[in-house]
Symmetry: C2
Subunit: 139 residues, 2 copies
DNA sequence: AACAACTATTGACGTCACCAATTATTGCTC
DNA sequence: GAGCAATAATTGGTGACGTCAATAGTTGTT
């Protein structure tokens, strides 16, 4: 009898939950949650982003972005700068402290991934990574 | 600059969210959510389960199971039967209506997985499935 | 000049995860 | 076999979160 566990879509859902929990328990000592961390990492790769951009790219509601950026700003990890082109928009950028924070949690994120993928050898991890990237990169 | 998207753990988290959303939008016409569906599919593979067992196997809080089983019972898809061994426990079983419901949503679940894995060919899907199963099957 | 579209923000509502406490029952132990 | 810790289901509370509607300020279009 094929249970739901044999369904790849459901497996992804389940493992996504587990992965998120691992990240969150890991981040909790810093007072942040996975959502904050995702924003920081996105900013690290983009050198400034409109809140609207964060919303669409990360899949969080615009109103959620407001709170997340508020939190990060309160901790001094990001700043809101006025957009030169459009006075409605604000550009969120990492501060130096934000970069330092990311450096400090770098190997920690790797450790989480390491725990999660413990049953796989390096070659298999690379295969999985490649497949997931292909799945993730569709509109 | 390696963004968070290059991190397998985060990829899993992200794809898990997407998968869950697909499942939920698909199930919403039936009035159930993914959590209910997961319970039904687990029951289909076990011919009766204690609520405690559902809690540990599916990773939901015992108090959450109460509500889920209440909902399913209200729809006539499951029943609570007294355990012959232990009067504290109740055994949750699928009704005939529950089985019929699962049959009706069978190919729908496959369609969700199909949408999700659109970029992969059949061989790659099997590889992914096998890797995810290995990752999922750790304590 | 008028109006539709867009950005950030606020607020409300329902769902959900997480934790503590309760009741009924069981198993252990002395 | 009496007392007591452990367990199963349940209830309730709290905080986080997704979603939706509404608003103020700004831009682009016609």
């Amino acid at each position: 009898m094929r249970g739901l566990h044999a369904d790849t879509g459901y497996l992804l859902y389940r493992l996504g939950l587990r992965s998120g929990q691992l990240f969150n328990t890991f981040l909790q000592e810093s007072g942040l949650r996975l959502r904050h961390y995702a924003v920081l990492r996105y900013l690290a790769g983009s050198a400034g982003a409109l809140q609207r951009e964060l919303s669409t790219r990360l899949g969080y509601d615009p109103s959620a972005i407001v709170g997340l950026v508020d939190d990060l700003e309160k901790l001094g990890l990001t700043e809101r700068r006025p957009s030169p082109d459009d006075r409605r928009s604000k550009i969120v950028v990492l501060t130096e402290e934000g970069r330092a924070f990311l450096r400090g949690t770098d190997e920690a994120g790797l450790r989480v991934t390491n725990d999660l993928l413990a049953p796989l050898d390096p070659a298999e991890r690379e295969t999985l990574q490649a497949l997931l990237l292909r799945v993730a990169d569709q509109p």
